[in-house]
Amino acid sequence: MTREPTVAEQSHPNYVKVWGVLVALLAVSVVGPMFEIKLVTLVTAFGVAILKAYLVARNFMHLHIERRYVTYLLVGMVALMLLLFAGVAPDVMKHEGHQWKNEAAQKVVRDAAPAAKVH
């Protein structure tokens, strides 16, 4: 079943170059956290991860030339996960709240050896 040449034919990014950028970003995300600075770690590790995900999605998955609602669908699902996190974190992440205390979890945190360095 031959495919008629899609409009993507012309706007194919140079894949090897994109790959190079991704590898460079990988190096950044490995080196960054070595400085033990919390903010630097956050930016290099997680910021870079989001950037790499964007590059793969845009250039390798051709989302930039795909129908717009496909991107809305995928981003919508990610937003749903943030909503889940927002709704559940006050109960699971925190071990204390309004008129309740998660004593067992607090005990687990207290008993563990003091963290070498707080992440």
């Binding site: 309004h98 008129q99 309740w100 205390k101 998660n102 004593e103 067992a104 979890a105 005990k107």
Partner: protein, 250 residues
Amino acid sequence: MLTRYVEAASSYAQDIDGLITLITVLVGFWFLVAQAVLFGLIFRFRAKQGVKAQYISGEEKSQKRWVTIPHMLVLVCDVFIIVGAVRVWTDVKQTLPPADHTVRIVSQQWAWTFIQPGPDGKLDTEDDIKTIDELHVKEGATYHFQLLSRDVLHSFSVPAFRLKQDAVPGRLITGWFKPTRPGAYDIQCAEICGIGHGIMAARLFVETPEEHQKWMEKLSPVARAPTPQAEAEQENTPPAEGASAGAGAE
């Protein structure tokens, strides 16, 4: 309105019953209107010989008004209910009035254990009074309860008090109630907790201050006697986490 089915024996029972009455009125009105319109239309527009149905797209403003106006009114009723609900909820679940007494409620697979401070008024002291499946409280006093579970989810539910709070293993949940009518009321478990869930019945006795005092004296001197003392001692260590497997009913 709810008191026709269950007694109101705590201070906030009236607030919750009032909210339920408000909801019944608002929701009942819309229910009856909708049913009346529905049956009216069925009867009015039943198939008659030679009468064709009308062609109404419902897209024009004038036609859609028939749906959007009730739609808005329902929204307005919802706002009233929300305001009522949030107000009562903050009184019952989000504020802790100063406590005259505190009781620790320990739920486990298939029994309720109540630990009340003895005459010295402080928990975790020798003279604590520990009762199984029986809770004696004084009418008119504000009680804080510390609710915890030793094994699975349970739920401390006193219908007469309009009180319900799940006991989650690992969590200590505080709440309050203030008994207002002497009498004996049911305590039920409202969260399925295994084969004994249906037999986890306990009784809650609301006594006048004098009766309560008599009960306290009757129990605490007896509690001085060695045997229950040692037993109370052993039981009284703060609730061990990771409770022993499936402790049978006391």
